[in-house]
């Protein structure tokens, strides 16, 4: 077996070592002396995939699952018999769908690994199907489209970011931001059949809020704003959102005024902006004269 020795410590190094773990001296030797990693490493490298295997069914869980399936079967049979008895006046379609989907909610908790993202990722499609079934009772989809879009938005905003590993925070945030941006035109198209308010009001307002929040993120990235700064900046972003909503709405109806009911909010936003600017400036001046590193 090929194996290198540390020239300083004299210890044998495991095959494939690039340096001595004791003194950090680099291994400089031909490949056939260094060798390649053999057998199992001391510990798996970080990020190596593996799966946690859970005990899926113990006696209690098995009992509950059997009970749920039994209830679902009994309810379905009862509904079918009732529909035969009542004839055309009763359609079992909706209640059977609800029974099966309600049971599925419970069964998911027993079969899926108890991790928020996995459970939520299962509940989202079940909820989508449930909403569609309820709405399809009259053989057409109407209100459920908006509801389904909202459920999908929830998945993108509240589940997907947690699926990303921590080191990919930027991608996670970007996914949520894009999902919200896509939600407005999708909802607009689904409800009114055309891109109307979403392009004229929602997306520009969303852009203003994002820009304001982006400015705060930039400040946090570059320096260390105080908690007061962060809270006030968040309030400021909300104010800009309100003002922008009013502004773009007035533009969409070709009103003469720049702002209507949000004038007072605009004044609050300007005051906050002035306060924050003064706060930052005065702190920098104070730090400059105190010779403190900002």
């Amino acid at each position: 077996m090929h194996m290198a020795y540390c020239v300083r410590c004299g210890v044998k190094l495991e095959p494939g070592s690039t340096e001595c773990p004791l003194c950090k001296t680099k291994v400089i030797a031909p490949d056939d002396v260094v060798g390649s990693p053999q057998g199992a490493p001391l510990f798996p490298a970080s990020g190596e995939d593996g799966r946690t295997v859970y005990q899926r069914l113990d006696k209690n869980r098995k009992g509950v699952i059997e009970l749920v399936i039994a209830f679902m079967a009994i309810a379905t049979i009862t509904l079918v018999i009732t529909s035969f008895a009542l004839g055309a006046s009763f359609s079992p379609w909706l209640p059977i769908g609800l029974v099966i989907l309600g049971g599925s909610y419970i069964l998911v908790a027993f079969f899926v690994q108890p991790i928020y993202t996995r459970i939520a990722s299962w509940y989202v499609p079940i909820t989508v199907v449930l909403l569609a079934i309820i709405d399809l009772n009259d053989l057409s989809l109407s209100w459920s489209v908006a509801a389904i879009l909202s459920v999908v938005l929830y998945w993108f905003v509240a589940v997907v970011p947690w699926i990303f590993p921590k080191r990919r925070l930027k991608e996670a945030v970007a996914t949520s931001v894009v999902a919200v941006a896509a939600y407005f035109p999708a909802l607009d198209a689904a409800v009114s059949g055309a891109l109307d308010w979403s392009l004229e009001i929602a997306l520009p307002t969303y852009g203003v809020v994002l820009a304001s929040l982006g400015f705060l993120v930039l400040r946090m990235y570059k320096g260390k704003p105080s908690v007061t700064d962060i809270v006030l900046s968040l309030i400021l972003s909300a104010c800009w959102g309100v003002v922008a909503g009013d502004f773009f709405h007035l533009r969409s109806i070709d009103a003469r005024k720049l702002l209507s009911w949000s004038s007072s909010v605009f004044i609050v936003a300007v005051c906050l902006l002035v306060f924050l600017t003064l706060n930052v400036t005065l702190r920098r001046v104070r730090n400059y004269f105190n010779n403190r590193v900002v």
């Binding site: 495991e14 773990p21 001391l42 798996p44």
Partner: protein
């Protein structure tokens, strides 16, 4: 079920850098299938009902309750001996079974059991896994296969059984030397593992008429002395160097308990008196260890462990007051009085059927914020695996001093680590 007498200190003193966990692992020559391992675990846990418990906080004490939650096996992690959360880490269990495609490992919270109890559980788990894989494992004292009789003695707190009341058993030592945190700390436990032929160690230790454990302890003290001399310029600021050595007292007292039944003896040198040669250290270690490890001296420690718990004021003080007190006592009179720990499980005998399949055993002991490097040693198949677990992000001086000293004495040492090469390049 109450915690045993030596376990009560662990829950209140758990901290970020002090997880009070240990890990035992076996590398196999057969593939480990997680589903089969889970089945083996379910079978084995039925045989070890006192391990199927969760930790709860009472008004006066922590206590165990039977845990019926589903079991799980987890993929192995890059760093051993992580914190086992009493509620969230392993469905409330105080052990965590990990696997790779060729390894089965179990990490234990020390409140549950000690190294011997942990080894019996791991051996039983691996034996059951091999049985499910079609291997024929011969019976062994330390393999408790499902279906065998559960002896009540296995779950007993042997400290209570062997307690003899004694007065004035408390004595305090001065603080010992501790390595500094140069280079920073990390809660991802860093491991340097040394594999040494037991024959080589036997040869060297026998030539000096000491046991392998005594020899290893002497090497640790000698290395720690060099670390102290390198880091502290003024000899007047030197501190004693002491090593804590857990001793399995089951054989001494004749106990079959699989819960904690270990006592710690502290041996060392007083570096304030001058530099000790290796022979002087070996002499000190040999005499101190041999005078400590006997039933009478150990009874004193058993009495000390139990007396504290039986004290009226302590027994009926609410846990909310006891916890900070125990933390203070542990930091001031526990970790502070020794420089590091070495736990030597010894040479593990494996039954026929398992011996052919098990390639290697490892034993890792969690370090603490005071004693930043801990050592665990275990022997099997002719090799001793000596693992140094450390929370020091970069500093490996102590490990280097110990292992190069062995090499200089003609003992070949093979080292492996989980330290990232990139991390080391930042130095």
């Amino acid at each position: 079920m109450p915690l045993d007498n030596s376990a009560i200190i662990y829950p209140p003193t758990v901290a970020r850098y002090n997880t009070h966990t240990f890990r035992l692992s076996m590398d196999l020559s057969v593939e480990v299938l997680p589903e089969r391992l889970l089945t083996a675990l379910e079978h084995v846990v039925d045989r070890f009902p006192y391990f199927a418990v969760s930790l709860h906080r009472g008004f006066y004490w922590y206590y165990f309750l039977p845990n019926k939650a589903p079991l799980a096996v987890y993929p192995d992690a890059p760093h051993p001996c992580g914190y086992i959360h009493p509620k969230r880490s392993a469905n409330g269990y105080l052990f965590k079974v990990r696997y790779t495609n060729r390894r089965i490992a179990v990490e234990y919270f020390h409140a549950l059991t000690d190294g011997t109890g942990g080894l019996v559980f791991l051996k039983s788990l691996v034996a059951e896994y091999l049985k499910l894989s079609g291997f024929d494992v011969e019976p062994d004292d330390q393999v408790k296969l499902p279906g065998s009789q559960v002896e009540s003695e296995e779950a007993e707190d042997s400290f209570e059984r062997f307690y003899r009341p004694l007065k004035s058993v408390f004595g305090f030592e001065t603080s010992a030397f501790h390595m500094s945190s140069d280079g920073g700390l990390t809660d991802d436990v860093q491991v340097i593992s040394a594999r040494i032929l037991i024959e080589d160690l036997k040869r060297v230790s026998a030539s000096r008429n000491v046991t392998i454990t005594e020899y290893l302890v002497a090497e640790l003290i000698d290395a720690m002395q060099r670390v102290q001399e390198a880091n502290i310029s003024a000899p007047r600021r030197y501190k004693p160097i002491r090593i804590s050595v857990p001793v399995n007292i089951r054989k001494v007292f004749g106990s079959k308990s699989l819960r904690n039944f270990t006592l710690f003896i502290v041996v060392g040198i007083d570096a304030r008196l001058g530099h000790y040669s290796f022979d002087e250290i070996l002499n000190q270690v040999m005499h101190q260890m041999r005078s400590e490890v006997n039933a009478k001296t150990l009874s004193k420690q058993v009495a000390r462990n139990v007396a504290g718990r039986r004290n009226f004021a302590i027994r009926y003080a609410p846990l909310v007051f006891k916890n900070p007190l125990m933390k203070l006592l542990s930091d001031s009179y526990g970790d502070a009085i020794y420089s590091t720990t070495i736990s030597n499980i010894g040479n593990v005998s494996l039954p026929k059927g398992m011996r052919e399949v098990v390639d290697r055993l490892d034993f890792h002991l969690s370090p603490s914020k005071t004693n930043k490097v801990s050592c665990g040693a275990i022997g099997a198949n002719g090799y001793l695996t000596w693992s140094f677990t450390s929370i020091l992000r970069e500093n490996t001086m102590f490990e280097r001093e110990v292992l190069t000293a062995l090499v200089e004495k003609g003992i070949p040492v093979e080292v492996a680590t989980n330290r990232e090469p990139d991390e080391r390049e930042e130095r």
